[in-house]
């Protein structure tokens, strides 16, 4: 009976490993290989010409690449921080409500049901300089008499994208942080109040440490997901006008599909993968540390 049996955890994990290997790992190995070739979709034989690190060199010396890279990091940093703060604020607001909280929570989840591409179209519509909600409102209120080119001016477009991105993701933070707030035990808070802590002190020293793991979970989830911003940006401006809102992902997409230069696009893709991995590992470590403080780590 006692043949060599694989351990239970391995059997349980096997399906996950198999599917991820098939759908993610193998294509990524292929893309790693092709990033060392001058592969073009239109010329299949170019897949077999090895050119070493030429694609990476080209990317790393390209000004377009670096501006897109910098803009991506900037967008991620601003967006994640603001979303986190606003999500925390929203969660605290909703947590204080005693009546109709369930309805509020449902409303709060509203943006999460919107596809990023839908968010893109929605805000493209809202920020449209001719028929958009924002310009219509500003003009009707008499605040401005000209059409503000929200999606045409580089800085304004960046702002519009940021608004769209925040609208779609703040509620993820709010929901998860709210879950954390529910999990905060009552006793220490009551004890702190009895001992004469101000509400701020109670929040800072009891509530916040408790919801920190949830904040990091939310940050890590978002950092896994930030590339969704690609959909939004692709629809709203597609990196334009004249590359003024170009992000790493739109650059990759254009190079790969429009210019059909797969090898070069894959090389840049790898750089973007490392960027994503960096963010994820960073938040994951924070999460584990925060969990450890609460004794939730294993």
């Amino acid at each position: 009976m006692s043949r060599l049996k694989p351990p239970a955890w391995f059997v349980l994990l096997l399906p996950a490993i198999i599917i991820l290997a098939a759908v993610v790992l193998i294509p990524l190995l292929l893309s790693l290989y092709s990033s060392f070739t001058p592969y073009r979709l239109t010329r299949p034989d170019s897949l077999y010409r090895w050119i070493g690190f030429a694609n990476y060199e080209k990317a790393l010396t390209s000004i377009h690449f670096w501006t897109a890279f910098g803009r991506t990091v900037l967008l991620l940093t601003i967006a994640l921080n603001l979303e986190m703060l606003m999500g925390l604020g929203l969660a605290l607001l909703v947590n204080k409500v005693t009546w109709g909280q369930r309805t509020l929570r449902t409303i709060m989840m509203f943006p999460m049901m919107f596809s990023p591409i839908l968010v893109g179209f929605q805000f493209k519509f809202i920020f449209n300089d001719n028929v958009g909600l924002v310009n219509n409102a500003l003009q009707s209120l008499g605040l401005t008499d000209q059409a503000i080119p929200w999606l045409v001016d580089g800085k304004l477009a960046f702002f519009s994208i940021l608004v769209a991105e925040m609208w779609s993701a703040t509620s993820v933070f709010a929901i998860l942080i709210l879950a954390g707030l529910f999990a905060v035990p009552r006793d220490p808070i009551e004890a702190a109040t009895v001992d004469g802590c101000t509400p701020w002190q109670t929040f800072r020293h009891i509530t916040l440490p408790f919801i920190m793991p949830f904040i990091y979970i939310a940050l890590a989830i978002r950092s896994l997901d930030v590339a969704r911003a690609y959909d939004i940006v692709q629809i709203m401006t597609n990196g334009g006008p004249a590359r003024r809102t170009e992000l790493l992902w739109t650059l990759i997409g254009r190079t790969g599909y429009v210019d059909a230069r797969m090898g070069y696009a894959n090389a840049m893709g790898y750089i973007s993968i490392f960027l994503a991995i960096f963010f994820t590992v960073y938040f994951f470590r924070k999460l584990n540390a925060a969990r450890g403080e609460l004794g939730m780590a294993s």
Partner: protein, 288 residues
């Protein structure tokens, strides 16, 4: 007395501020969505009107009629897209949850070598941006003939959702006290029974919320679907939205109608599972 009154006024002002802040926050969340819903009922002339028409003079179902009626004559085959989306999302969610439950249980309950490494490895597969993945995936799918099929997209979405599902479910199983399962085993349950009779019901709510996330991800995914689908046989709704754009103009009304159609199932589903979701999220209280 005076002190008392001051205190009461302060409390009341704070409460009013709280309500105002809450109202503004909710308005910001709702208005963009409601605007889409409103515009789906308005004729194109009114949407494009200058100066803007604030109070709609005419609401009709023309956009919806056009959407469902004009199949074949250059219209958008919305029903087909809807069916594709539904089949693909539901199937991939069910599979992802099953795979995720197995994986999450393994991480929550077993100790093994390289656990942290494997876990991070799984998570990192999710961190790969869709665009970077879509390029090689496109080549692989084209070679294996899975491009433009339901199966191809389902596989992709399962892989996309599994890491996150494992992670969420791991977290929820972790919050089920291990003593519960041990007690069940002492009482004569096998590990399998202990799982289904004790741990699963307790973590069910968490699993439901993982399911919502998985469903919404597949339902809304665009970057990969836009490359891996070609024809109406497999195009999903997010990809279908693009059918309303042409070179220089966008049919806003029609697009809004499709958008509403896209949101409704997500809304209903979230509503049904919400009870579980809230219960599941509050279950963290057990741990504290």
């Amino acid at each position: 007395m005076n002190e008392n009154l001051k205190h009461r006024i302060k409390a009341r002002i704070l409460k009013a501020l709280h309500l105002v802040a809450l109202f503004i926050a909710m308005a910001i969340i709702c208005v963009p969505g409601l605007w889409i819903v409103l515009n789906s009922f308005r004729p194109t002339v009114e949407i494009m009107a200058k100066p803007p028409v604030w109070i709609p003079s005419e609401l009709n179902l023309d956009n919806y009629r056009a959407m469902f009626g004009a199949v074949g004559e250059g219209g958008v085959p919305v029903v087909q897209y809807f069916t594709n989306s539904l089949i693909i999302s539901v199937t991939s969610t069910v599979i992802a949850i099953l795979v995720g439950m197995a994986g999450g249980y393994a991480f929550a309950r077993y100790r093994f070598k390289g656990k942290a490494g494997i876990f991070i490895g799984l998570m990192l597969t999710r961190a790969v941006p869709g665009v970077s993945l879509s390029l090689p995936l496109f080549i692989v799918m084209a070679k294996t003939g899975l491009i433009d099929t339901h199966v191809g997209l389902i596989l992709v979405y399962v892989a996309l959702n599994v890491p996150f599902t494992i992670w969420l479910i791991d977290g929820f199983f972790r919050q089920v006290p291990i003593e519960l399962a041990e007690a069940a085993e002492i009482d004569g349950c096998t590990r399998w029974q202990a799982f289904w009779k004790v741990e699963f019901p307790v973590a069910r709510a968490g699993i439901a919320s993982a399911g919502i996330f998985a469903f919404l991800t597949s339902w809304n995914e665009y970057a990969l679907a836009s490359q891996l689908t070609r024809s109406t046989f497999s195009k999903t709704m997010p990809v279908g939205l693009r059918d309303f754009t042409s070179e220089f103009t966008i049919n806003w009304g029609g697009m809004c109608a499709l958008a509403v159609l896209m949101i409704i199932p997500a809304l209903i589903l979230t509503f049904i599972v919400q009870k579980h979701l809230i219960a599941g999220l509050t279950f963290g209280g057990v741990k504290g």
